[in-house]
């Protein structure tokens, strides 16, 4: 016994243990037996609805659906882009449509043909998931900024933004509230998104649009229209009506505690408004210039990975299940976001606030998804902050911003 070579014992033990590990090739090849499974990356509010939809899909096809719970942010999109070519990324991912340009230009998403179901969706939702003439995703929700009015403080419906400020100041005098209106801003980065409805009321749309509604890379927010908006911003800053230091928390809290009668915000704030038991109305943002004010419309959509492990099942789930009106309604119920499907909007009962948001969304403009937009945001925000804080002549600041952005784009 003592003379048995220990090497032999060691080798035997190794082989025994190695044998215990099941063949890893089965996990990688995956699909040898049944139809396999697909993976969907989504946020925690979407997953309950997706489970319902997936149950039908699994019953029909035998394909299991797994979920990766993750909030969608720039980091998640970056990870998806770098993981997709390695085959490790989920088959379907939820993302706001303004990431589409980045996703498409990196070749990590494939077109999804909506077929006749396309007619169910609102025009803005359809346009939002088109990039370079190709339709990529299945939209499910539409979000935009509108005016929230605290009906306990006032029931006036101002026709212009100046009228709104006047009403706000009168309420400040009469009822001792703190602000004429509130809106989310950021002292570091600015917040052009929340102010875009005001900007478009001067006709200064950020990029040129083709007749089909697609954005081109030509900047159009310069010139006289842009200058008019810049001067208006300066005025808002000088009067103290708009402050760059008003962070999202402060803005929302002030509205919820009745320190402001008007609040520019999106449907994502409704949960808190409803929880506070407030009586509010959702109205379009009154124009500051001569034209209609058109907020940015953000569309939440599902995109299919170009390097999906199971592309047929993923396409099937996206094109034939997620597009169903029942699926769209389920997603609305679980996320509380106004649906992208017109059919689902029509089915909404007893939710006047979100219905109003969906109606206002029709007059909005999809956020540009073109990669050029990445160069716009930071200059746009910091310049608006500089104008509001009075750090220079508004027209000069605005012109320099246009120059900088154009320098970045070319």
């Amino acid at each position: 016994m003592k003379r048995i070579p220990r090497t032999a014992v060691a080798a035997a033990a190794v082989l025994l243990l190695a044998g215990c590990s099941s063949a890893p090739t089965a996990g990688v090849a995956g699909l040898a037996g049944g139809p396999g499974s697909i993976r969907i990356q989504a946020g925690d509010d979407e997953i309950p609805a997706l489970r319902e939809i997936a149950a039908d899909f699994t019953a029909d096809s035998g394909v299991e659906v797994e979920f990766v719970q993750r909030e969608v942010n720039a980091q998640a999109i970056s990870n998806f882009i770098s993981q997709s070519p390695t085959g490790q990324a989920p088959d379907i991912i939820v993302s706001p449509h303004d990431n589409l340009g980045q996703l498409a230009s990196n070749g990590v998403v494939v077109p999804v043909e909506l077929g006749e179901r396309a007619g169910d969706f609102s025009a803005n939702a359809r346009d939002a998931v088109v990039y370079d003439g190709v339709s990529y995703g299945v939209p499910y929700a539409i979000e935009n900024v509108a005016l929230l009015r605290n009906n306990a403080l006032t029931t006036e419906d101002p026709a212009s933004f100046d009228e709104l400020r006047a009403v706000g100041h009168r309420l400040m005098d009469e009822q001792g509230i703190e602000y004429p209106f509130t809106v989310s801003q950021s002292a570091e980065a600015g917040d052009p998104y929340h102010l875009y409805a005001l900007q478009t009321s001067f006709g200064a749309e950020v990029f040129e649009r083709t007749e089909e509604g697609e954005y081109t890379g030509t900047l159009t927010m310069g010139g006289a229209d842009g200058h008019a908006f810049a001067r208006y911003l300066q005025d808002l800053g000088e009067t103290g009506d708009l402050r760059t230091s008003m962070s999202p928390d402060i803005a929302k809290e002030s509205f919820l505690t009745g320190e402001s009668a008007f609040h520019l915000g999106g449907p994502w704030e409704l949960t808190d408004v409803e929880a506070a038991g407030m009586d509010v109305s959702v109205l379009p943002v009154p124009p500051a210039g001569d034209e209609q004010s058109r907020p940015f419309v953000g569309v939440q959509a599902f995109f299919v990975n170009a390097h999906a492990a199971n592309p047929v099942a993923a396409q099937d789930f996206a094109a034939n299940y997620l597009t169903r009106p029942e699926a769209q309604t389920a997603l609305y119920e679980s996320t509380g976001r106004p649906p992208a499907s017109q059919v689902a909007v029509d089915r909404m009962q007893g939710d006047p606030l979100r219905s109003a948001y969906a109606r206002i969304a029709e007059s909005g403009l999809p956020m540009p998804a073109i990669p050029e937009m990445g160069a716009v945001w930071s200059f746009w925000g910091t310049t608006e902050n500089a104008v509001v804080d009075g750090r220079g002549d508004p027209v000069q600041l605005w012109d320099r911003m246009i120059d900088n952005i154009e320098g970045q784009i070319s």
Partner: protein, 543 residues
């Protein structure tokens, strides 16, 4: 193995014969744990068996995934592990201790460094994300356009004699076609709910089989008719097909993409297909670009200007942070080191407090406190003035240093307190006898003695602050942004937050450039650390 030195009777191996005075005995006893089947050997055997099992699993998995680099590394590491721990050679004894550390060093340090360095010489980033093959496939699919006015076909996927085929129902006729056969009527097929469920001469594939044949299905194009302009059917989901026509095809001979209107997009050598007017198709692919990334960093027209400014501020920030925290920490440590001070443990505990809060939380709270209009500092402490703490470039830098001081001085207080107590009291007594005053004592005894102990910690602190991303990102986000600059760089950006902006923020990912910058950061920190270590070695010799 090791038979030549194995004991003759086995009792010596177990180390129980303490009285044995034979010449080989002490040596043998020392090696008792590694010979025979003692408990030590059994433990080693089990551990090594586990390591081998995990290693073999990794090797098989790498084989299945086709990751050859990982495969080679795992095979080499596993072989080395077995040799090191099972070969009896005495020369391998140090290796037994070094091997695990070495493997971790390779995986976590060397690999990361080499990978970063390799990326720095490529154009990896937005638009250059994957391989050329992937780009060609993606371009071909994306630029396939649905034939205008064409209808949707409810299709069934069939397996025919010559591969996959599609069957559709149109005007009550069953049409079947395959890759090289346009759709043609087929007699004798059975239809249920507008879908073909049986086709003579073909096998109807189940859903699972369709999914299994996904690669073939993805390439299948069934011509609608003999005319090319009618397009070819493609199905993405195995249920519905649409007629598509290619608008961009890959010409292998010319290594170029050719559009339907004859425009040729040739490989431009920079990882993309570009048309005659220079417009590049997206996506492109990853290529080696040599020193281009380093060139861009030093080119004044691209990043040169901000790079120099950011580097200077990074050094200033790191040095000042270390100096300020160290001297405040030292001052408090000396004060509270005085044994005549009552309640000094209470003071020590209070001074230690900032260190007990999570830094992430503290930084965010400071950002709120310093808010221009609503912050506590301006509203309450300064009575409603609007000092733009985080909006003015110089004030933002000052705020950053102060917040970092607040975060960092307790640590310095702790280490200097420890080091002060380690300085022998006799030194001060003899210094007093020699007539040295407190200042002289501090300069000639306290500081040099302290430096020996905390010098390396100061270097570590410098390296940490040099890359102190958290405080920058959470307090100012690198802002206020320079309105003149086209790069989006801010007044408080240090190199690492600058890298982050280039690599991830603003919607333009450029991993190649960010890797090049990271390598420069690595070199800077390494050089500064090496120089200071030499200096502190000199101090050590003094003492």
């Amino acid at each position: 193995m090791s038979t030549s030195t194995t004991t003759r009777d086995g009792t010596a191996a177990a180390g129980t014969t303490g009285g044995d005075t034979g010449p080989g005995a002490p040596r043998e006893r020392r090696h008792a744990h590694s010979r025979g089947f003692g408990p030590g050997f059994v433990v080693k055997l089990v551990l090594m068996a586990l390591i081998n099992a995990i290693g073999l699993f990794g090797i098989l998995a790498a084989w299945a995934a086709g990751s050859w680099g990982i495969l080679v590394f795992l095979v080499a590491a596993l072989l080395a592990a077995d040799l090191v721990y099972f070969l009896p050679a005495r020369k391998l004894l140090p290796a037994k201790y070094l091997f695990p550390g070495l493997v971790f060093l390779l995986v976590f340090q060397v690999f990361v460094l080499v990978y970063t360095a390799a990326t720095a010489f490529t154009n990896y980033g937005d638009g250059h994300n994957a391989t050329k093959d992937a780009a060609i496939t993606q371009l071909t699919t994306t630029y396939e356009q649905r034939v205008e006015g064409s209808e949707a076909y409810a299709v069934t996927v069939l397996e025919g004699p010559d591969g996959l085929a599609l069957a559709a129902v149109q005007d009550d006729r069953v049409l079947v076609g395959a890759a090289d056969r346009p759709l043609a009527p087929l007699e004798g097929a059975a239809v249920t709910d507008g879908r073909v469920v049986e086709a003579p001469g073909y096998e109807v594939l189940s859903y699972g089989e369709v999914v299994g044949a996904q690669d073939e299905l993805g390439e299948l194009r069934v011509p609608v008719s003999g005319q090319a302009e009618d397009g070819a059917l493609r199905t993405d989901d195995g249920r519905t097909a649409y007629a598509y026509e290619p608008t961009l095809t890959y010409d292998e001979a010319a290594d170029a993409m050719v559009a339907a209107d004859g425009t040729v997009y040739a490989d431009n050598g920079e990882g993309a297909f570009a048309g005659p007017d220079g417009e590049a198709l997206r996506p492109g692919w990853r290529v080696f670009v040599g020193l281009d990334n380093f060139g861009a960093i030093f080119d004044p027209a691209v990043l040169g200007g901000p790079f120099v400014a950011v580097t200077l501020w990074t050094f200033a920030f790191a040095v000042l942070s270390v100096a300020l925290t160290f001297f405040l920490g030292l001052l408090l440590a000396i004060l509270f080191n005085d044994e005549k001070l009552r309640f000094r443990n209470v003071y020590r505990a209070i001074v230690f407090l900032p260190y007990a809060f999570p830094a992430f939380l503290s930084i965010l709270i400071w950002a709120g406190l310093l808010n221009t209009d609503f912050g506590f500092v301006n509203e309450v402490l300064l009575g409603g003035t609007g000092v733009p703490w985080l909006e003015n470039p110089w004030l933002a830098k000052l705020s950053l240093l102060l917040v970092n001081l607040w975060l960092g001085f307790p640590y310095m207080f702790l280490v200097t307190t420890g080091a002060l107590q380690a300085i022998p009291g006799e030194l001060y007594e003899s210094a007093e006898m020699d007539g040295a005053g407190p200042v002289r004592q501090f300069g000639s005894i306290t500081l040099p003695m302290l430096m020996v102990a905390v010098g390396p910690l100061l270097i570590a602190s410098f390296a940490m602050n040099f890359n102190n991303f958290n405080v920058i990102y959470l307090l100012t986000g690198g802002g206020p942004q320079d309105l003149e600059s086209t790069t989006g760089v801010g007044a408080t950006d240090i190199l690492i937050s600058f890298v982050y902006k280039i690599a991830f923020a603003g919607g333009t990912n450029d991993y190649g450039l960010a890797s090049a910058l990271s390598i420069l950061i690595f070199i800077m920190v390494a050089v500064v650390s090496a120089l200071t270590f030499r200096r502190s070695k000199a101090l050590e010799e003094i003492s």
